[in-house]
Each structure stands twice: as structure tokens, then as C-alpha cells.
Amino acid sequence: MSVVTEIALEAFVLLRLGERRFALKANQIVELIAPSRVFRFPHRTTALEGVILRRGRIIPICDVSEQLVGKKLTVRRFYLIGHRLFGTQKEAIALPVSGDCELITAELTPRSESDLAHVTGWLSHGGDAIEVLNLEGLTPGPLATRAVSPFSHPVAEVRA
């Protein structure tokens, strides 16, 4: 007797930060764009470095590489624009990435309790186990709890 298991495949975007790859659910991604001028102004949210102007909209930039791979990106090839939820409100946020992005379908393995707050699950692709990122856990926002990362330093900032 054979047991047929239904595998739920989902679409993900693979992104590269230095030598490592991470994934985001494809339905969170708006577009991938070439780096453009960064506008900086005084603020106290240290995880944000400024904003870019895209089709008349102002989008904050959050370099998550230090949290995820322990160092800032030296090469930025693209900005991956994603949607981040703030309660019920959805806003765009730009993540600098260091290489090409790839759209794949894979099965999501849900996160376990031991996973860090920025991990929403795992997927297997090309022999690698890849973290699926939780933007709400990775990028700053109000009324949120801070993500714990092996690379994160104690800062006054509050994260989801």
C-alpha cells in the first residue's frame, strides 16, 4: 500500500547576502531594482540608513546583512523591495542584496521554537537549507519586540 502525501509548494524569492542565501515569500516582494540615490536625514532608528525615491514614493532602506551574516554588504547589486506589515498596515521597505535573486517554488518547513525571531521557516533548495525570513522580525517597527540574532548587537532599537 502506498501513501500519497500532498506537498504544498509555495513561491519564494531567494536573495543573496554575501556568501549566504535567504528566502522571502514571493507574495511579500514588490520588485527588484538597481541601487539608486540614498537620501539621508537625522533619525534615531539605527537599522535604517535612509530612504530612496521610487515612482514618487519614499521607501526606507534597511540593510539586514549585519544581523544575518555578521557584516555590512560591501557590494550592493540590487534593492529588493518588499512589503512589511505594521499591524494591519502594509508598507514597502528596501533590502540591499549583493547578488541576483531567484524565484523558486519549494515546500516550507515551519519554524520551530528554537528558531530566531526573524525566521519564519526553512526550505531546502540545491542541497542547502535556507532560512525563510520574517520581515516583521527583521526590520524595525513600532510596538514590536526585538529580534534576537547571533550577530545583533545591543541597541536601543525595538524590532518585531
Binding site: F39, F41, P42, H43, R44, T45, L48, V51, L53, G56, R57, I58, I59, P60, C62, R84, F86, Q89, E91, I93, T139, P140, G141, P142, A144, A156, E157, V158
Partner: protein
Amino acid sequence: MQAVAPNKARTPRAEQIILFRIGGQLFAISSASVQEVRSIDSLTGICHEIPSTSVRKVRHTVRRNDQTHYVVNGTVHFGIPAAPASLVFFLRHTPTALLIDSIEKMTTMTYLQALPLAFCHEERNWYRGLTPLDQTVVPVVRPEGFLSTEELTLLDTAVQELKKEAKGSAGAPE
């Protein structure tokens, strides 16, 4: 066809703004929020030093039209490198006199985007939002954001104590 819901973050009407610099950084403020612009030199003689408080950005007061204005050092407020100020904005509806480097120009903004929610610290009180202007993005300051209620209470208390001391020393026998 379904109508597109209006975006609450957008403000379509035009608004007169003043572009100015603090510590070399460009900011905008609604011209309706500025009661008067004066040069620093014109404050000589009407400016009074106040004792040190935890409000580091205020070291002086100016008495004007029977009201005490607290002179706010903009570079300390925004945490940017110090720069010599040459002008002061007396703001409406707040006892704030803001030190600035210079006025860039007066212009009109037609679009003000709310500060993205990812900015989640003090800057939410500092700015009304951001406006794209002449190929750049300018933060539009909130006049009430320079001094919080707590800071005003601290400063009011310091000024009251200073007045009491002055009265006491004036009345003391020589």
C-alpha cells in the same frame, strides 16, 4: 469598476514651506509655523542664560511679547555635528526659538508623505513627514516636536527657580 481608495498619507493641497539648514542638513518647515525670523546678533541683550538642566539643547531663554521662548540648539536636538547658527526662528504655538544655520529658500510643497512606519523612534515626533523636492527628499519638521511636554516642564521649573533666586538676592541686605 471600483473606485480607488484615497491614500491617507498623501496631502494633495499645496503648502508654503521654508527650506533651511541646521548643521548643514536640509529641513523644511511650514511657513505658517514661523512667526518671526531674526539674526542671532539681534538677540544680544535680550537673551538670558539658564542653569543646566537635563534638556541639553536649551541653554538660553528670550523674553519676547511677554512670553519666554526657549532657544533650542538644532544640532543637539537632531544629534548632528555642531555648526555655528546665524538665524533664529520664533515658532508659533510653541515657546520655541530654533537656532538655524541659514535659510535656503521659500517654496511650495504639494506632497507630504507620512514618515514610513519603520522609523520608530524620536524622529516620529520630530517630523510631520517627508517631501520629495528638486530631486531630493526633505524632512518636514513638526514645530511642537522640538520640546516635549516633559522638557517644557523641566525648563519652566528651572526658569521659575532662577527668578526666585534673583528676587531673593535683590531683596537681601548688603
